[in-house]
């Protein structure tokens, strides 16, 4: 009995206002306080396993030493005000004999990564390992229990001294292993310099038969040579692509489909066929097949295998400074607008893309219309406002390529926009134009990223429409007199804007500002002009 009382009092000591409001809710807590003020009393009786609490209105509660283990004679099956009253009344009337005893929670630090993996699913581990890249402050309180609070998410997880995950509780009310338990555990370990992380098991059940077949067919292509290649090879590539899909080899499947597409062009004697591109794709596919046969470290293996669909992860908070929006259209029949943001804490550029396939007959995507539409995040802003904003996104979903997802669960909160001159844009900012092109990274198997730069510009020296290439060229000059040609390609939809830019006196008079540009090879495409808090999207606002 003594043991029950001691355990119960340790638990009561943990029950602060914050603890109770996170595990129950604020309303219940306030109601319980009021009831006690009005004169509700509780009588406690300790048995061998639990504490019987009888309220003066006749309600009977049975409590143990955990917030999620209770019984109440009232009809509610969730935590009710009677339980809270029983807890609070004890703290107010009884003198807690438990000394401030700190438990021993070293088991959380001593757990091996493999052991942690056993309690959580692959998806949960993947999600939490991704979230760890983002800052989240934890607050810990130790008594007979260890409470770890994820402050940004307002979630509290409690662990017991006993080395058992099953006895942990989480304020998200999930009964068993939830992502919060894993996240709080890993963040707690990190705070104590335990860096042994669970490793995502790569699905190594890739079909080596497919890899073998792939190498054989690719070797046949290069052995026959394009000149004597039989057309039947296309059907074989199609079958191989399907086998690669079922063989859990996304990158290889994509590579084979690309080869198939290129060979289709070749057999049709299409002008778009290029030997160079074909050879590049052939090499990529062959070299990845060789890499798949080797024993690679997990991270590299993941990179070579690839993913079927980009996975999005929820992160609690992201502060973004908008850098501009760029409308685009592809030859394969897609139209869209990509919005660029600078994440102040991560010091990286994030993008949000609103795109549609337009190859269906009734499909429509008007840039101006989409630009003025309300954003798909909660908060009621239009994309036009978002593209010039400084915002905080709560519960936003991002993928590994730092693309933001449209989700109504994401809340966008507008902040007052600061001057671009005061922002630290990090490695994207180019003040010395001679340095451009020196920090280029090459990835063997990774996808190529958009190359986005923010140029510090003195003025636009020259504006010229080149008839031969149908490009508007803006010659920008930096403070040292270096110049750079920025290209705006002519399209029917942009005709008016290009005409306006060509004659714009405002643009010629603009001094000491910034231009966001996209670099593709050696060509620079401007996206937006930025000065002070002002931002002009070149292809959408002008």
């Amino acid at each position: 009995m003594v043991h029950v009382k001691e355990r119960f009092e340790q638990f009561i000591a943990l029950c602060s206002e914050e603890y109770l409001t996170t595990h129950a809710n604020k309303g219940l807590y306030k109601r319980a306080i009021k009831e006690i003020e009005k004169g509700t009393t509780v009588h406690y009786e300790f048995s061998d396993e639990h504490v019987n609490c009888t309220l003066n209105d006749g309600t009977l509660c049975q409590l143990q030493d955990r917030i999620d283990k209770f019984l109440c004679s009232c009809p509610s099956d969730k935590i009710c005000k009677h339980v809270i009253i029983a807890i609070l009344y004890y703290t107010q009337t009884e003198e807690l004999v438990t000394e401030e005893r700190k438990g021993d929670f070293t088991w959380l630090l001593a757990l091996s990564a493999e052991n942690i993996c056993k309690h959580f699913s692959e998806v949960q581990i993947d999600e939490v390992l991704f979230r760890l890249h983002y800052p989240e402050e934890i607050e810990t309180r130790e008594s007979g229990f260890l409470a770890i609070k994820l402050k940004e998410q307002n979630i509290e997880v409690t662990f017991e001294e006993e080395a058992d995950f099953g006895s942990s509780t989480c304020s998200c009310k999930a009964k068993e292993s939830c992502v919060h338990r894993l996240e709080s555990l890993l963040r707690y370990r990190l705070a104590h310099h335990v860096t042994d992380m669970p490793v995502m098991k790569v699905d190594v059940n890739v079909s080596m038969d497919v890899v073998e077949d792939c190498k054989r067919i690719l070797a046949e292509i290069i052995s026959f040579g394009l000149a004597k290649l039989p057309q039947g090879i296309c059907d074989r590539l199609e079958v191989l692509a399907i086998a690669a899909r079922t063989g859990n080899l996304p990158n290889l499947e994509r590579g084979i489909r690309c080869l198939h597409g290129e060979l289709d062009l070749f057999f049709k004697r299409h002008v778009r066929f290029s030997k160079e591109t074909f050879l590049r794709r052939l090499t990529e596919a062959y070299v990845s097949a060789i890499a798949l046969e080797k024993e690679l470290p997990v991270e590299q293996m993941k990179q070579v295998i690839g993913r079927f669909r980009s996975k999005y992860y929820t992160i609690p908070r992201l502060e973004l400074y908008a850098l501009g929006a760029n409308p685009w259209e592809t030859r394969s029949g897609y139209k869209g607008i990509t919005y660029y943001f600078y994440a102040l804490e991560e010091k990286r550029i994030y993008t949000y893309t609103d795109a549609r396939p337009v190859y269906y007959e009734d499909a429509r995507f008007q840039f101006a219309e989409q630009y003025r539409k309300t954003a798909s995040w909660s908060g009621g802003m239009t994309m036009h406002d978002v593209s010039k904003s400084h915002i905080i996104l709560r519960n936003c979903k991002v993928n590994r390529e730092r693309r933001l997802s449209a989700s109504e669960e994401t809340l966008a909160i507008m902040l007052e926009r600061r001057d671009i001159e005061d922002m630290q844009i990090g490695s994207y900012l180019v003040t010395d134009w001679r340095q451009m092109g020196t920090n280029v990274s090459l990835a063997l198997f990774g996808s190529k990223q958009d190359d986005i730069l923010l140029l510090q510009v003195k003025k636009i020296k020259h504006i010229h429409f080149e008839q031969a290439t149908q490009n508007l060229l803006l010659t920008a000059e930096d403070k040292d007199g270096n110049t750079l040609d920025l290209t705006i390609a002519y399209t029917g939809e942009l005709a008016n804007r290009i005409r306006h830019l060509e004659k714009s006196r405002e643009l010629r008079n603009l001094h000491d500002f910034y231009i966001l540009v996209q670099r593709y090879g050696t060509v620079y495409y401007p996206i937006s002009f930025l000065k002070g808090t002002m931002l002009t999207n070149i292809k959408l606002d002008v």
Binding site: L218, A219, I222, S223, F224, G225, L226, A227, K228, K275, E276, F278, L279, R280, L282, T283, Y286, V287, I290, G437, T438, V440, L442, L444, G521, T522
Partner: protein, 94 residues
Amino acid sequence: MKEWIGHVNDWLERILLKGIGQLDIDDVKQLERLSNEVKGLNMDFLAQLLTHLAVEGRRYVWGDAQTNLATLVQSYFYVCQYSQLLAENDEQES
């Protein structure tokens, strides 16, 4: 350097059309010349890859074609991969 990468690429693309299965001694000799010239320009790694490909090429032309084809193809793709990396690097630096 750009010029020599261009010559290597020309050879690779010609073989792509012709088929490495039809490789003959003239192709190998041309490759050996390229390898020597590239070595003279201190592009040692590329020269090493080209030499290896030339050795495999000779073995294929004079020896047992079937057993040597797989290693020849692999050496060919290694040269392709490295020359593509060089070209990409060069494009981004210019």
